[in-house]
Structures are given as structure tokens and as C-alpha cells.
Amino acid sequence: MSFGERTSRILLSTPVLRIGSIFTTLFGISIFVFLVLRVIPGDSIVGAFGIETGVLTPEQIAQLKIYYGIDKSLPMQYLSWMQSFLTGNMGYSYSTGISIASLTAKALPVTIELALIGTILGVVMGIAVGTFSARKPGSIRDFAGQLFGLMALAVPGFVLSTTIVTIMANKFHYFPNGYEFVRLWEDPWMNLQQMMFPGLVLGIAVAAPVMRTTRSALLETVDKDFVRTAIGKGVNPRKVQTRHILRNSLIPIVTMTGIQFGYLLGGAVIVENIFSLPGMGRQVLYAITRREYATVQSSVMVFAILFIAINVITDLIYRKVDPRIKK
């Protein structure tokens, strides 16, 4: 094989193509977010000064443009931010006076912990109810399971969160999120109390699609030949249920769980707000309202990297769940 052929084979191999597509995706996202933020009206000065921007003199505006780095051309602004991002400090938050990397280092663990708790609770509830439902399709238990799925989908997170907060505070004088947020390694018991209800709200939201996916995957698998054969051979029904049916239904469940976990990382803003959790959702929302461009851009890039990482992990889990995929 010639050198040229070997090079093109390496370049066209799956891992290289995969890595290439990841970097292309991240670059595309960085450009998209950068441009969207510049297209929407308002800038960092309006975000910081509000209506008082109107009383600033042209000289003051010019000085503030230099301060916020928005006096430069768009390509220069992009390159300046990208350089900061790649060197690890991710830029500078003007409202807090500290680096975005420091802010993210504090906010990201909160969001990841919340998303993990939500996903674990959601998967446990979803698989349990889905299995419960699929055992006797068309029965009352199936109806009850599907009703749970429908309600979990239909009730908005903010309604559920507010209801929980109000009932717990008014009836039981209990709202641990009213205290300052405590990290897992500082006080695990208090942290669990602060994460329990928001995790449950997110878990219920995850449980609905996982339950529906589990139910339909199980119903599809249960009619397969190998299941009938196992039952015919007299294999223990519990073993058939777990080893043959559930194991072979896991691929769509894993896919759905991966997607939901990714959404939770970027979409827990409302729950973070109601339960006063200082996570990434709040960081991005606050930065958008203040037009802190670097904070929004860097945070979105972190989300994008995480989302891609979750996809890769999901692919690896596929291989574990279904050995045929390795081939």
C-alpha cells in the first residue's frame, strides 16, 4: 500500500471521521451562537446600564465599548474569545469580575449532579412503570401506567416545582433551598435535601418518555422467536423477563436516556430558578439578559461538548448492551 493510499485510509477511517465531525460541529455551534448574540438588539452596555445607557455621553459610550471589547470588528471579537476559550479561562464575566472558567467550575457540577439525579430517578421510574404496563397490554394496569406517562408529559415542570415548593413550605415549613446552596462534598445530607425535589421534578419529566419507550420496546421484543423458545424450554419467567426481554429492549431505552440526559444539562433553567440552584442554566440565562457575550458563548460550548460526550458514551453503552454492534 502506497503512502498516499495509507494516508487517505487513515483519514477516512471511522474514528478520524468522527473526531472531524465533532470539531466541525463545535466550530459551527461557536459561529452560530456568536452571530445570534450579535444580531439580537442590545449589547453589553445596554445589558449592564439598562435605561441609564441613555444618559451616557458619546465619550462614555466609546470608553465602555473598549471596556467590553465590542469596539473591535466581529472577526476580531470572535478570535479574541476563541483564544480565551481554548486557553482555558473562557473569557471574563464583567458583572462578577471573575473568569468564566471559575464561574463554570462552580455551576457545572451543580447541573451535572441535578441531571444525574433526575436521570437516575427518571430511568428507574420509567423502566418500572413501562415494564409494569407492558406485562398485560390493554389491561387496567397498562392504562394506569400510560396515564402516569401522559400526566408526567403534560404537567409542566414549573407547575410541579411550584406546587411542591408551596406545599412543603406552607404545610411542613420545609424548604431547604431557602438556605445557601451546599455542595455535595461540603455537607452531603443538606445537599441531598436541596437536590431531592428538583431531581424528582426532572426525574418525572424523564420518566415519561423512558416509560413509553420501555413499554413499546418490551412489547416488540416479547413476540420475538427467541423469547417464545425460552418460554417453551421452561426458562424461569423472571429470567425471561430480565435476561431475554428487557436486555434485548435496552437499545432504544439507552438512546432515550442519553437524549434526555443531554436535554437536562441544558434545559433545567426553570427548575434551577425555582429551587434556587446556582447551576449552568441560571448562569446562561443571566448572561443572556445582560448580553455578556463571552459567558453565553463559553457556556453554550460547554453544553455542546457535554452533549457530544454523552452521545459518545451512549455509543459505548450500545456496544456493551448489544455485542453485535462491535462488529
Partner: protein
């Protein structure tokens, strides 16, 4: 109750620690450039100004013990309070006043209050005496010396470029720490110049939704809160104290009289006659607001009924529309930002419903806050549903809007020679009785020309646990009276 007992909450310390729930974090530590309510509120506890606004909206002595104008109100002489110290222990004197006012006037500072004191030409003095010279007669300058944006800073800190990096004020509380997105901690200033401060610490805890703040109050995890939503305030139970104060700010339908068809007086008057303000208050603010005219400060308050249409008069609306050539009705676009304040959406929707009855289609352009502010500042709107801040002096409240030279005149969308003359007269008049006459004329000029449609003044709410005693609410929104609060 079982759940409440089963879960262990952090033990209450013996010291007097007050936790305050607020929805927004602070965004800077420089009092001269602070503009967000949350930052102004917090820094107001750590810094002091030359004068203060009291509960009855009267001007009181602050770091200045006494003052006096010369005959034509072009010189203001101040006697500073004796024995005042900054948190770092250094003494407060005339040098600090000079450095602070000059810092506000310096365009490089981008100070929020610069426009209010732009008539100051020089600040001189030594020891505890200060002389402020003005370019024109300007009695309202005294009111402009109040507030966080006019905080007195240490001249040494200014020289060392420490402002915004550290907090070294003369206020009742010392700054301890700021955890962005979570909390700001303050502690008692044992050498505060006024009565001894009773609270040991004050912590501002960021809880982004007001419903959750109320939950935290009910659960006892915080003891004090700042609320803006009438809906949430109405849910405050008897287990808490609710302080309800009519604010100086006001909600209005701004009309841009430089844009057709609102450049026709008849169209603007038609809108004024079609709006029942009490209904807006009932619908948008659950009845929790006061119908007002242009000037909200009690000393100069406009009579809300002193206008061409004090009540809804659809017959007049139709006549005005016909006279303007819009007998078949017309469409007006209005910008609104629902995230800006609690009653924004309700106000806009109710105005739309009321105007529809008169054949006026109010088309709502719903925007996020920064987009709204950006278009508002550019005057890029026909109408705007706005919640504007108020001041205790009508000159500082409106001089940036309605005189043709005002730096927000583009936003006001209206100016006239009469208005210019009245504002100049108001500025130059020192006697309270004469000033009242001038500002009544200004109020009438604004209402008779339906420049904007002034709707209501929302209440300022503070909710506190029963063991929080002695708090005095202020219409300015300041929390400075936490200096006299005790925890029983």
C-alpha cells in the same frame, strides 16, 4: 410537620443574622455606576450620601449635618457631620466629598448620576466645610445629592483606583463577601455614625423566583424579603408582616408624538379617553397600586383627575378619532417586555382590550428586556408600556425626558417651548410654594397634550418574619432602615 422534624436544618446561630431573599444578584461593587435595583439596594447599606430621603420623602441630613443656598441658588454650602469614619477607620472630610463629586462628574467614570449634578462647576472646602458652585440657579441639586449613585467614597481609595474592587463606605454595614449567583454577606459597622446597629450580619440570598422567596419565608429559612409581584404579595399570610408602600415609580403607556399617527394630538387624546386606569390596576396589579398622574412625589403629586379625560369617555374618543381622520379606527404598535416587571404583561393585555373597544388596535411587540431597552433608548417605537423610576424631586424625575435638551428626550417623544421654559423656571425657583405652582403647570401640560398616558404607581413590598422588628419602609425602595431593625 413530620417531614419538617425528620429533616435537619442548620442550627440557628445565637447572633442576630438576618437573611434577605432577593430575586436578582448584584452586578458590581462601584456605587457610582450601579444601576440595577439589587446592586443599589445592597450598596445602600454599605455607603452613605450627603443627604438622605426620609420616610415622608423629606430631605434629611446624612453625611452633611446642615446646608444652605445663597440668594440665587447658585452656591450650596455644606457642613459635614463630625466623627464619621469609613469602614477602614479613616476619617470622612471635605477631601472625600471633593474627590467623590469630581469622580461622578468625570465622564471616564460613566457615573449614573452625572446628568443630575452636571450643573456643578466646582467643589471646594477643607475640614468639615464644603462649597459647591453651580453654573445656573439649581435648588433641586440638594435632592440630587441623595442615593447610592452619589455615595461618598474615600479620597484615598479613589486615588488608589480601589473603587469597585473593595467596598469601603460609611454605611451601617460592612461588606464581607460576594458569592456570585448565591449570596452577598455584610456585617455590622460598630462605628456607624447614627444609632448603634442591632443586627450582627445581613445576608442577601439570591432566590430567583418570588414564589420561592415566599416559600423560604414561610419555612423560616429567610427572615426578610423584597417582593414586587402583587400576586405573590397577596399570598403573604398572617404569619408574616407585609409592608406595602406606594412607590415613586410609575407604569405608563409612553406615546411617541414624533411618529404618525401619534403626532396628532387628537389621536393621543383619543387613547387617553379610552383607558380606564382603575380597570388596569384591578386587572394587571390585582388592585394593588395607586392611580397617578405624571408627578408621584407626595410633595408635588399630580391630581390624577386633572386631565382632559379623567374617566373613560368613548364618545369623546370617537370624536377625537374622527377629527384626526381615523373614524374607522387605527392600529398602533406598542413594545412591551414581560420580564421587566411583574405587571407588564397584564398591563399591556388590559390596555389592548380596552383600546379595542374604542376601535384602536394596540399591536403588542413582546421583547426581552435588553431588546426592549435598546429600542426604547433609540426611540424606535410608536408606543411603549413602561415602568419608569421616580424621584422625590420632579426636576430630577423628568428633566432628562421632557425639556428638548434632556438626554432622554428622544425616548420621551415630545418637547415644546412651553415645557422648556417651565423646567427652567422650576430649576431656578427655590421656594417650595412657587415650585409647586410650576410643577402643577408642567403636569397639566403633559396631561393636556396626552404626552404619555400615566396609569398607576405600583406598591413596594417588603415581607418579614414576625421576629423582625423596627423596619421602616421607604418609597424610594432603599433598605437603609435595616440599620434600626432588630431580631427578637
Amino acid at each position: 410537620m413530620v417531614a419538617g422534624v425528620a429533616f435537619v436544618a442548620p442550627a440557628q446561630a445565637a447572633s442576630k443574622d438576618l437573611a434577605i431573599g432577593v430575586t436578582l444578584d448584584i452586578d458590581k461593587l462601584d456605587p457610582h455606576t450601579a444601576t440595577s435595583f439589587s446592586t443599589v439596594r445592597m450598596l445602600g447599606l454599605t455607603y452613605g450620601s450627603l443627604v438622605e430621603v426620609g420616610p415622608k420623602l423629606d430631605i434629611r441630613s446624612g453625611l452633611a449635618a446642615s446646608w444652605g443656598f445663597n440668594a440665587d441658588s447658585t452656591e450650596l454650602r455644606l457642613k459635614l457631620r463630625k466623627g464619621v469614619k469609613f469602614h477602614d477607620g479613616s476619617a470622612f472630610d471635605a477631601e472625600d466629598v471633593k474627590a467623590s463629586i469630581n469622580r461622578v462628574l468625570d465622564t471616564k467614570t460613566t457615573a449614573a448620576a452625572r446628568a443630575n449634578i452636571a450643573t456643578i462647576t466646582s467643589v471646594t472646602g477643607s475640614g468639615l466645610s464644603v462649597l459647591i458652585k453651580l453654573s445656573v440657579p439649581n435648588a433641586p441639586i440638594l435632592a440630587a445629592l441623595d442615593g447610592v449613585n452619589m455615595s461618598m467614597l474615600s479620597s484615598d481609595d479613589i486615588a488608589a483606583n480601589k473603587i469597585g474592587k473593595t467596598v469601603n463606605g460609611t454605611g451601617p454595614f460592612k461588606f464581607v463577601s460576594w458569592e456570585p449567583g448565591q449570596s452577598v454577606k455584610l456585617e455590622k459597622n460598630a462605628t456607624y455614625w447614627k444609632a448603634p446597629v442591632k443586627l450582627d450580619t445581613v445576608t442577601f440570598r439570591i432566590i430567583p423566583t418570588e414564589a420561592s422567596i415566599l416559600a423560604a419565608l414561610n419555612a423560616g429559612t429567610i427572615q426578610f424579603s423584597v417582593l414586587t409581584s402583587p400576586t405573590v404579595a397577596l399570598q403573604v399570610g398572617k404569619n408574616l408582616n407585609l409592608y406595602r408602600t406606594p412607590g415613586l415609580g410609575y407604569v405608563t403607556l409612553q406615546l411617541n408624538a414624533r411618529v404618525a399617527p401619534l403626532n396628532k394630538l387628537d389621536v393621543r387624546l383619543a387613547i387617553q379617553c379610552a383607558i380606564n386606569r382603575a380597570e388596569v390596576v384591578k386587572t394587571a396589579a390585582s388592585g394593588e397600586a395607586k392611580v397617578v398622574g405624571p408627578i408621584t412625589s407626595p410633595a408635588y403629586a399630580s391630581d390624577p383627575n386633572d386631565r382632559p379625560c379623567p374617566n373613560v369617555d368613548l364618545a369623546k374618543t370617537k370624536k377625537y378619532l374622527a377629527d384626526a381622520g381615523y373614524a374607522d379606527g387605527l392600529t398602533i404598535k406598542a413594545i412591551v417586555s414581560p420580564t421587566q416587571y411583574a405587571t407588564a404583561s397584564g398591563t399591556a393585555q388590559n390596555l389592548k382590550a380596552q383600546l379595542a373597544k374604542a376601535g384602536i388596535n394596540l399591536e403588542l411587540d413582546i421583547l426581552d428586556n435588553a431588546t426592549y431597552v435598546s429600542r426604547w433608548l433609540a426611540g424606535d417605537f410608536a408606543a411603549a408600556v413602561a415602568n419608569n423610576g421616580g424621584r422625590i424631586d420632579p426636576d430630577t424625575m423628568y428633566t432628562r425626558y421632557f425639556p428638548s435638551t434632556g438626554n432622554l428626550n428622544k425616548v420621551a417623544g415630545y418637547s415644546s417651548a412651553t415645557m422648556d421654559a417651565l423646567f427652567l423656571k422650576g430649576k431656578a425657583t427655590g421656594r417650595a410654594a412657587e415650585r409647586k405652582v410650576v410643577y402643577k403647570q408642567i403636569s397639566q401640560e403633559l396631561e393636556n397634550n396626552a404626552v404619555w398616558i400615566w396609569l398607576f404607581a405600583p406598591y413596594e413590598y417588603r415581607a418579614a418574619a414576625k421576629n423582625v422588628t423596627g423596619f421602616i419602609p421607604l418609597a424610594t425602595g432603599s433598605l437603609i432602615e435595616l440599620r434600626v431593625v432588630d431580631l427578637k
